[in-house]
Symmetry: C2
Subunit: 161 residues, 2 copies
Amino acid sequence: MPRRKEKRTHQDLSTIFDMIEYPDAFRITYLANAVVFPTYDTIKKDFGLIRAEYVLLACLSHYDVLTAQDVSRISGRPRNTVGRAVHRMLDEGYLARTPDAKDGRQATLRITPEGRALHEKIAAYLKERQENVLSALSAKERHTLSQLLKKAALDVASKDS
Amino acid sequence: MPRRKEKRTHQDLSTIFDMIEYPDAFRITYLANAVVFPTYDTIKKDFGLIRAEYVLLACLSHYDVLTAQDVSRISGRPRNTVGRAVHRMLDEGYLARTPDAKDGRQATLRITPEGRALHEKIAAYLKERQENVLSALSAKERHTLSQLLKKAALDVASKDS
DNA sequence: GCATTATTGTACCATTTGGAACAACTTGAA
DNA sequence: TTCAAGTTGTTCCAAATGGTACAATAATGC
């Protein structure tokens, strides 16, 4: 175990990478914390969307029509969080809501052109960020990592129904 | 793009896995969201620690002596969050604080045997969870993934100094 | 030595978050 | 048909989070 000599920095993490009892989970978490959440901060600052709002936008940009409940189920976030995001995005004009004629409880949501344009800007930013994060890997390594992550993620997705 | 026919579920994510503009970042985020954060919820429920408190415990279980500021730098969390966790963990007896004789501003923190015992229990739980998440991969795939994640994570860690 | 600047830990506050309960509506069974 | 149970969207509330500012102490420059 490292003994204290001088100021600890973020770099000291490298020793934990090997000492930790659950190295893979830790590395995944580390990448997510170091990359994804600062990214959400940037999205909030530069694009004015909080996380729940961007999740909603991303869902609607990949599905044609969804209800708020669908978004909740797909994204795994609670209904009230999604509901708040829906109202905010309606006010901003990034999505449109149509009451369902057949079911008076629910309303169908669609993304507007403005919403799609916003999502494209944010997606481009996220992609750039992804490239930066994985720039240490070769093309072949990138491909391998991508496949392994997909395999693991799909397995997880299949487990919690 | 999928058109609406019936209820969307969490499983619909599998289509997004390929459609998304930043597939690797998305998969990493997905694994972190599906695995790590529910895990934090479990840690809170079963062990009574919030995330900041567990981060503190994990840091102190891998370094001999740290100040609150060290923990903040290593973990990347703000000082006030760490400070709150320190007081809570002191009250619970999971760590000990000694005022620094040389620097009146700071105090050195150490984990207590109780804290170490708690961390071992939580670490065992996290390890089990990790195994469950990666169970779809073969031993060889696990090893490859582990190496690639380490390479990417260390590169990221080296970038933000 | 003295004044300015930097650092540590803390307090305050606004924001985000999600659990629980609720009303409106639909579905299913008797 | 009618009533119980389930679903959708919303409101309310408590908890966690992190930015900002602050007091105390240390380090630096003159």
